[in-house]
Structure formats: structure tokens, C-alpha cells
Amino acid sequence: MSGMTLDGTAPAAPRTPPLSQIGALGWMRANLFSSWMNGALTLVIGYLIVRWALGFFDWAFANAIWSVPNNQTQVCRDLKGIGACWAVITEKHRFILFGTYPYEQHWRPALCIVLFVALYIVSAMRRFWRKELALVWIATLGVIGVLMWGGVLGLPYVPQERWGGLVITLILATFGLAFAFPLAILVALGRRSKLPAIKALCVLYVELIRGVPLISLLFMASVMFPLFLPEGMNIDKLLRAQIAIILFAGAYLAEVVRGGLQALPRGQYEAAEALGLSYWQKTGFIILPQALRLVIPPLVNTFIGFFKDTSLVLIIGIFDLLTAGKTAIIEPAWQGFGIEVYLTVGAIYFVFCFAMSMYSQRLEAELNRHRRS
């Protein structure tokens, strides 16, 4: 069709839209000032943000004190409310990261932290999603165990009571996930089983654990586990808390895995059966690989939840990152600087959780794209 209009005249040449509609100006018009109320809102919010940002900058940087000699915190106290006392971090950062681990051996927990982060990063990359990843996990966790305890390879032995800080948080979360995940898969499969006794056991486990707060399980671990074991057999506090966290995580992860098993189309189950595969062959080769891949974003979100929940061990006296922070300000010299310490500890948690959250959101977007195409 030639470009003739209905009345026979030649059509006007295409024009660019007016200047106020495009570019930065256009974007601002649409998003910030699209109506009177919108514009007013933008101005109010903008003003508040700027004012608060300036105030925070003053407190956190301009008037802040970065270090004090020899615990002389009077100068910090004089500035309370006006300037932050980051000296508490300068003084206590090793305590917050490593707890009461012997000073000269701090390289060991530091290396462990690096190993944990590396493990997370490797597990996140899709090209490593193969069966060998399980071996990598086992090997890394083994190395971390050796590093922390010592006693072999010329490393001096460090008893568990002296472990503390960020390392404990990472240990509780990672070992928790490592053991809870296989448990969760078994429980999810059991819950979908046709055998009534097995299904009932799995349902009971999941509903019981999900109905009670984590604190009650930690209390149970700390006061009741010693009663459950025969006399003479002792497991230390960290292991007890770890078991409670594993049981807790297992129930929540089981629900996530079950969602994946349900989402898989029945045709996959049938095709596998029609080929003559046995139950375990079918589950291992066909069902689980697909179901687990379907639910990775919710799995990551659940893991973020656990990572934060490990902070609850503060209540039963285990020295994790948050406990270290809280303990750092018990000393009379440093009392009252809770805000600075909690902001720092919060920043550490935030870095981990935010990274995982961004990863999970990006992964979900990618998986949705693939599924639609």
C-alpha cells in the first residue's frame, strides 16, 4: 500500500514526539510529576530524604569518632547523639568476627569464612549443578572442620567453647542446610507416598515443627537433649543447637520440595513408569532433578530465612555473630554504644542476605523466561 491518506493527499512525514515527552525530562514528568498530588508527594519525599541523609551523614561520618586510645570512651560519650562512636568497632571487630578464638590463630576462622563464601558462590553458578557438587560440599565442609578444630597437620587444637562470631553463624547455617536438605527430600517423598504409616509420620513431623517457634526447639536442644542421652554420653552445646536447626530447616525445606514434586506434570511420572523404571530409578533420574530445579528460588529464600534465624542461638547462650555484638557492649567502657554495633552487625547480615536475595530474584526471572519460550 502506498502511503496515501483517504482524501488523496500525501501523508505527513513522521515526526519525533515533543521534547517534554522524551529523555530525562519525559521520564521525570511521567514518574515524578504526573499530577499535582504526585508532584507534591515527590517534593515532600525528596525533602525528607535529603534532610535525613544529611543528618545521617553528619552522625555517621562527619562527627564520628573512629578510634580512642586505651578504652577512654569519655570523648565518645560526650558526643552521644551527635556523632557515632565507630571506635567500638575498631576495638571489637575481631571479637565480633571470631569470638574468643586464640588471637594468633585468627587466620583459621578467617580462611573458613572465605571458604564458606566461595562455596556459596560456586553452588550458585548454574554450570556447576551436577552430582559432583555434593562432593565439593563434603570436601569443603571437611576442610572447614579440620581448620576450626585443629589437632592435626600441625594445627593447634582449639576447643569448641572458644569458637564464636561470624564463623559460628556460617557454620550453623551451612551445616544445617547440608544435612537438612537430604532429610527434606526424604520427608517430601514420604509425604507423597501412598503408604499410610510413612505418610502419617512425615505429616506429623512437618506439622509439629512448623507449628512451634524455633526458640522452643532450641530450648529443647539445650535443656532436654542431655536428658535424652544415656549417662556418660555427652554432646556439646553447639552440636545440640545444630541438630535443632537441622530438624527445623528440614521441615520447612520439605514443604518447598513437596511443592516442586506437585508442580511436575503427571505425564513425567507416567512416562518414566511406562519405560519400566523402578520407584527409586524414576525418582532419582526423572522426578527429583526436575522438581528441585523448579523450586530453587523458594529454596534460596528459605535459606535466607535460616541464615537469619541462626541469630536465635543468642537466647541459649551460643556465641554467634549477634551474640558477639551484644557481648561486645557489656563491658562498662563500651556500654550504651549498641546502635553502632548493631548497625555494623546488621550490615554484615545484610551483605549476605541481600546477595542471596538478588540471586534468587534473578534466577526466578531467568527460569520464567525459559519456561515461557
Binding site: 508527594l41 519525599i45 509420620l201 512448623r210 512451634v212 517457634p213 541481600f354
Partner: protein
Amino acid sequence: MPESVTDPRQLRLPPKRPIRLSWSDERVRGIVWQVVVVGIVGSLFWWLWSNTAHNLAVRRIATGFEFLRREAGLPIAEHLVDYNPTDTYFRALLVGFLNTLKVAVVGIVLATILGTLIGIARLSRNWLLAKLAAVYVEVIRDLPLLLQLLFWYALLQGLPGPRQAMNPAEGVFLSNRGLKLPWFEWTDAHSFALLAFVLGAIATWLYARQATAKRLLDGRKRPAWPFALLAMLAAPIGIWAVMGAPFTPDIPKLRGFNFQGGLNISPEYFALLIGLVTYTAGFVAEIVRAGIQAVPHGQWEAAQALGLHRGQVLRQIVLPQALRVIIPPMTSQYLNITKNSSLAVAIGYQDIVSIANTTLNQTGQAIEGIAIIMLVYLTISLSISLFMNWYNGRIALVER
């Protein structure tokens, strides 16, 4: 020959199947598996149980719930019902339970309101507002709740003492001993008025339903607001007036080192409430946002093309669909607030967990103490779950 009306596929019923005793029979294998698994789990529990019984005997720890009748000797700072340390452990635990409810119920209401506002703000056309809400949600969700509670508590403890308390309004005082608000003396007249209000709300709801039913029959609109005004406003006020219209204000006054009178909100309760509300609101915001976005835009367009105005579109088309998506995860969040309130023990608010913990420390009966805690929470969880299942069944979309 005319076809019979009944479907021939509904004439006969299936027979029963006998079982064959052989390893190749699927059902026999199933039974063996179940026996093995139950056996393993059962023996594990039996082993734990026998150890426990032995240990309890050796350490001479009492068992049973007799201790509930003993005097508690436990001071409790905040109590909704009368309590003093000479009351029984049972009463102490009851007070703790009511404290838990106090923070959970108020927390649920406030978190829902705040979360809904933030969720709607996330979808605002104003980029600044939307981004601000997004940042709030992301930051809140990436920090542990316990950390946030400790932070708020530290903040409140950093406030000046009662003598230098902040006084933003007449009768309102904020200090490190808590928030004091002016209140009034609660008499029977007020109780009856409150009762009248609740009954009036129920009556209004029934009236509105009837009005809708009648409207469907004859098409005439019957506004419900005059009735609402009468039942929920005029009637309670009337009752209060009739019973003498009592109103004695109770303003907090500084006496010595603290305030007397007025409504007292302790820093522990306040910190716990703020922490729980701001934390849960982040999750509620995401749920509300997902719910609103779950309704395809085409629904709005189709409804408006039919001539429905915005209010009707919301009520009849959009909200019912959005609520289907919102309510299940929302109830899960309500459950979470209730469970998370157990963190009160970390900042010294005496909820059921805190009091049960002290009880088990004093009596040495750890198993009973923890069992009480779990029982309380399990009951709450299961009731909410049952309600959820019933509700889901009722509103489920009918599909092929």
C-alpha cells in the same frame, strides 16, 4: 429403541480385591516397608524415652504437672489480669499467655495496615515512592528479626529518663521507662457501650446483606449507612449517656522517679511491637503487591467496559480475585507474628515463653515446661491451619 436415561456407566459397583501373600505383591511390599520404618522410628523413640526416664530418676527431677498448683514466686511486670507473686504457676503461665496474645493481636492489626499501605505504595506511579517502599521491604527482609528487636530496644533505652522525658503533646510522655498516654477510668458504662458497638457492627453487617438480597429482587438501592450510624455510633453513645456519662480523665503525672497514672506502654512491649510490626509489614507488603498484580489488567478493562464504576469493580471483580491470592500467605504471616513474639524473652518482655522458661528453671521440670510452650503454639497454629483449609475450600475456583 429409546435409550435409557441413566448412564450405563453408573449401574454396577466395583468388587473388592483379595490380597496375596508374596514378596512380588505391591501391597505386601508396602506393608513391609511401613513396618520397618515405623519399627526404626519407634525403637529410636523408645531408646530416648528410656534414657530420659532413667536420667530423671537419677537426678531426682519431679515429673507431672503438680507444680502448676504451687506458688510461683515470680514477679511479672505487666499483666492483663490481676496477678501477684503468691499466685500459682498456672496463673503465671496464663498471664504470660495473655501477654503473648496482647502483642500478637495488636501486632497483626498494625502489621496488616502498615504492610498494605507499603504494598500499595510499591505499585504507585510515583517512582520515588515506589522505590522507597521497595528499599524498605528489601532491607527489612534481609536483617534478622532478633537484631531488629535489640536495635529498637537499644534505641528506646537510649531515651532520656522520666525527669527529662519528651513531651510531644499534652499528657503524652516518652522516656526510657516507656510511653505514657492519657487514659480514662474504665467503668461499666464503657463496657456496655463497647458491647453495644460490637453488637451494632454485627447488626449492620446483617442488615447490609439483607439489603443486597432485597436489591437483587427488585433492583432498588437501600443504603446501609443510616443504619450503621444508628447501630454503631448513636446506640453506644446513648447507652453510655443513659448510664450517667462517666468520664474521669487519667493524666500521667511525674511523681518521684516515674510517672503515675495514665496508660503505660512499657519499653519492652513497645520495642517488641515496633520490631514485629515493621518486620512483618515488609512481608505483608510483598503479599499484597503480589495479590494486586495477580489480577490481570484485562479484568479491570472488561469490568469498566461493562459500565461498572471503580468502587464496584474493586468490590465485585478485583478484590475477590486478589484476596484468593493474598489470604493463604497472609495467614501464614499472622502465624509467624505469633511465633516470632516468642523472641520477647530476649528483651525482657514476659510472654508465655519467658515465663515458662523461668518456671522450668525454678522447678527443674524442663520437659513439662517446654511441652507447655509447644502445646500453646501448636494449638494456635493448628486452629489457624484448620481455618485456612476451610476457607480455601470455600473460595476455591471451580475448574474442570
